[in-house]
Amino acid sequence: MTVALLMAAGGIAAGAFGSLLGLGGGVLIVPLLTLGFGLPLREAVGVSLVSVIVTSSAAAGVYLERHVANLRLGMSLELFTAIGALVGGLVAFLLPERVVAGLFALLLAYTAATMTRRALARPEAPTPVTAMPSPAADAPAAAATDAVAAESPTGPGAAVPAESPADPAQTADGGFVGSLSGPGYAVRRYPFGILGSLFAGLVSAILGVGGGIVKVPLMNLGMGVPLRVATATSNLMIGITASASAIVYLFRGGIDPYVAGPTALGVFVGAAVGSRVSHRIDVRILRVLFIVVLAYTAWQMAMKALG
């Protein structure tokens, strides 16, 4: 009984930290369950996938309602993340635990490096990757960089986005890719997006993460989608991506309901709380603290990989 409550509390912490720092839950849940509760890595990955579907789908619902996520773009890419995830889910059952631990250590180190770079580059603009959108708080931060996607102007004079790197009228080819573009931006390099999506799906399925850390830069830097739209669309895509591999874990006995229940519930509550208090918390100190935690966890995972 105590363990179930502890697990739910761990889930709440993972969900809250994840939404405050713009990380998906997976990168925190898997280490929590393996290093904290001593569960096998594959079981932790299965549970994490379910938790990731809960938070990202809840977030995607809000983003769609606010007209931020691009449904057409998300679906045309998630076809390929799902293929990657299906292959990844099957491969995951063949990989030795130590290999998965090693890959996870790399993911943690990469996440820590990304956060460090972001902390140094732009201290006050957090980039939510799988954060649940809060009722009001996510607009101002994102509007600073992506006024393009904001539905309502944030103030006088903010209605017209000054710079949009690509004018849809000039670059849209009028075909399928053209129809994926949104207001103020044109989707570029769709074939590159397909390749990146396959990779994101593989990573998600093997490591139990949403893969926002791959999808958001892929769409934002690689395909010319504004950050805010890329974040929202990534949340939408995570549901299908994670469910394609979660089905494999589910049918192969890789998900323990007694672990998944308390964890997923905790993550849901934590993400909801985190998104509601995010505008009242200075995330800079939190981020520094978290970089240390990620680096330490990466070290622990690396030790697990090396035996």
Partner: protein, 138 residues
């Protein structure tokens, strides 16, 4: 009631700009499916966790009842935590596919053939993963 002819949106075979109103309606339908699907899932899981606590079940117990859709209802009627947990978790995993199915219907109505194919493709991958995982042993 059926006197009003439904305006089908097939204006031109190679329409490139999607119908904004239809797209917005579809976005809202998908948003509600996600919110309701996850809301009901979380509620079921919460009941399951509460029953777990009452029954004193530890998550670290190495054995757990396997996922079997045929006995889920019976487990729920017997107030076993596993029934509520499994239904909640399965519904969580199914929710994204339900919204793709809804999108398929929406794009069919819009006459957007390419998005219909994309939707069918996604559902085919999900179906394939069920078939492979269900029959592949393990």
């Amino acid at each position: 009631m059926s006197g009003v002819a439904r305006p089908e949106q097939r204006r031109s075979p190679a329409r490139t700009q999607p119908d904004a109103d239809a797209t917005r309606r579809l976005e809202l339908v998908v948003a509600h499916i996600l919110q309701w699907g996850i809301g009901v899932s979380v509620a079921l899981v919460a009941i399951g966790v509460a029953l777990m606590l009452i029954d004193g079940i530890s998550p670290l117990d190495p054995t757990f009842p396997p996922f079997d859709p045929r006995v889920v209802v019976a487990q729920m009627l017997a107030l076993e935590p596993a029934g509520f947990l499994w239904l909640g978790l399965a519904l969580t995993i199914a929710t994204p596919s339900v919204r793709v199915a809804a999108s398929l219907v929406g794009y069919l109505r819009q006459g957007d053939r390419r998005m219909v194919l994309v939707s069918l493709g996604i559902l085919a991958v999900i179906a394939l993963s069920i078939v492979i995982a269900g029959t592949g042993g393990g």
